[in-house]
């Protein structure tokens, strides 16, 4: 190895070490606060002296006014996310069939429309959306949040499915059409079974898209029994003496499902611009 090559490798290792430390530090801090006992919360340390799982117990048994509806919030989050998943799958499966298999002239406008929805920051539509939901008397109902999340999650889901739909050989539709099957029959009997693996990935994406949402949830849901987990967590901040160790225990519980999912499906989620779509901020 020449000296220049060695220098490059040492620099690489240094960069990687720095990046790893940078990445892990806030996570380390979150977990260490989550296992900090009450008495030590206001004494900052590098390493927790007497780690405890009590905070998790308090959250799960709802033993603090801050988390007295934990299970209800969790149920709300699951309900909204589940509904969004089903709605997005239906909308995106139908749309991807139209764009990828029927290939009609007006499809250009449909895909432009979804691209627009995907790019425009959802917050720009939030205040009018809030007003419209108020007009329809849908504020503080799950419907409002489900509508919003379905609208904003559908474009990416559609693209991933559309990309996949394009790879299915045409002969499959042809032979079905020769047998006299109409588009509805082809959609249900041939298309859906073929795209099932992608549907699973896309459905979970929609689920966690709703699971992670804060802005629309905080705008549209108000009652302390109606809110989802992230809104409940945000509400800790309205109080000066918030128990941050409980909040961080709650954060850990809230983070685990999406982390597992993101790692399993990361291929689908970083699908890339190359195929005309990106998911991120």
């Amino acid at each position: 190895m020449t000296r220049g090559r060695l220098g490059v490798n040492v620099m690489r290792a240094a960069v990687l070490a720095a990046v790893t430390a940078w990445t892990l530090f806030p996570i380390y801090y979150m977990v260490s606060l989550a296992v900090t006992p009450w008495d030590d919360l206001f004494r900052p340390v590098y390493v927790v002296q007497r780690p405890t799982l009590d905070n998790f117990k308090f959250v799960l048994l709802q033993e603090s006014p801050f988390v007295k509806y934990f299970w209800r919030w969790l149920a709300n989050s699951l309900l909204v996310s589940g509904a969004v998943m089903v709605a997005v799958l239906a909308v995106a499966a139908l749309g991807s069939y139209a764009l990828g298999r029927i290939r009609f002239g007006l499809g250009r406008y449909i895909s432009g429309m979804t691209l627009f929805t995907y790019i425009i920051p959802a917050s720009f539509l939030s205040i009018p959306f809030f007003k419209i939901m108020g007009d329809y008397d849908l504020l503080d109902t799950y419907w409002a949040l489900i509508f919003a999340m379905t609208t904003f999650a559908a474009p990416y889901a559609l693209w991933v499915l559309w990309d996949y739909a394009k790879t299915i050989p045409n002969e499959i539709d042809e032979s079905a059409a020769i047998d006299g099957a109409g588009p509805v029959a082809i959609f249900f009997r041939m298309y859906l079974p073929l795209i099932t693996p992608t549907l699973i990935a896309v459905g979970t994406y929609a689920f966690f898209f709703a699971w992670n949402e804060y802005l629309y949830a905080v705008l549209l849901l108000q009652g302390e029994k109606m809110i989802t987990l992230p809104v409940g967590m945000g509400n800790f901040l309205t109080s000066d003496d918030a128990p941050w160790n409980l909040l961080m225990a709650l954060s850990v519980i809230y983070s685990i499902p999406p982390v597992i999912f993101y790692y399993i499906f990361r291929r689908y989620l970083t699908h890339g611009l190359v195929s005309g779509a990106v998911q991120g901020t």
Binding site: A98, I110, Y254
Partner: protein, 279 residues
């Protein structure tokens, strides 16, 4: 083109296509077009602008948003460009570290913000502990405008750098190896390789990523709202948090809508450039 489709006239194909896209069209009209229409009609009211442009908080917010978007997004993407070069390597150790590096992307935004916010607590956060041990004294990190905005920028980079690095890394992997080999034969040093091979081939993707990330970040609410809430003294608002404040704290919905309406022309311009480039 499918045989089934071939038998159909373009008209009935359009009809079928529209029927299958109907749910999508309904969502788009009801929850994207209609809110936008509402925003634009509200925006025609001149009085709202007089109020906004005469409010020092609004002016400050525009500056904050430009600084936040301009620095956070561009710094992040530049780092992503460099880092994707470091991670473009198939060794097991790099693959393992790349997986760890994705954690901030996989963790929802709330826990990350909350952790960093407590970190910067002037009395109980770990940042002041470190700062004191280094002999730099303690600071009220979130109590002054520019350190608070720096914190927002740093958090943004922590949270979103991994995602964009992966995107640029994927583009890098698409560059044919032969080009690098040819460069090596010609005796190109790493800088020349980057300057004359990687960068020209990544420039297109890099530009799209920058525009897209800028549009997304222009609408950021959650990071700012939960990190500073606009404090101290409403000096760290961005567009979305100021709109929220006007609507729910001041009780003026049309001011809230007006904040977005003033940013709409630039945003729409960016969106149309992007749609043209991505297609």
């Amino acid at each position: 083109m499918t045989a089934a489709a071939d038998v159909l006239s373009p008209r009935s194909r359009n009809l079928q296509g529209l029927l299958f896209s109907l749910p999508l069209i309904v969502l788009f009209l009801a929850f994207v077009v209609y809110p936008l229409y509402f925003e634009v009609t509200q925006a025609l009211d001149r009085y709202t602008y007089e109020v906004l442009f005469n409010d020092p908080i609004y002016v400050q917010t525009i500056v904050n948003t430009l600084v936040y978007v301009g620095i956070a997004v561009n710094l992040k993407l530049f780092l992503a460009l460099l880092l994707s070069g470091v991670l473009d390597d198939d060794s097991r150790s790099t693959r393992f570290l790349s997986a760890i590096f994705l954690l901030p992307w996989a963790i929802p935004v709330l826990p990350g913000i909350l952790s960093v916010r407590w970190m910067m607590s002037s009395q109980w956060g770990i940042l002041n502990l470190i700062s004191e041990d280094l002999g730099l004294g303690t600071h009220h990190w979130l109590a002054s405008r520019w350190t608070a905005i720096s914190a927002l920028i740093i958090f943004h980079i922590w949270k979103y750098l991994p995602f964009w690095t992966v995107i640029i890394l994927a583009a890098r992997r698409g560059i044919p190896r032969q080009l690098y080999e040819a460069g090596a034969i010609d005796g190109a040093n790493p800088f020349q390789t980057f300057r004359y091979i990687s960068f020209p081939l990544l420039a297109g993707i890099y530009l799209i990523c920058s525009l897209l990330s800028m549009v997304f970040t222009m609408g950021d609410f959650t990071n700012v709202w939960l990190m500073t809430g606009g404090a101290p003294g409403d000096s760290t608002h961005v567009l979305a948090t100021l709109a929220y404040r006007y609507t729910f704290r001041v009780g003026k919905l049309d001011w809230g809508v007006g904040v977005f309406a003033t940013a709409l022309p630039v945003t729409l311009l960016f969106i149309f450039i992007l749609i043209k480039k991505i297609r």
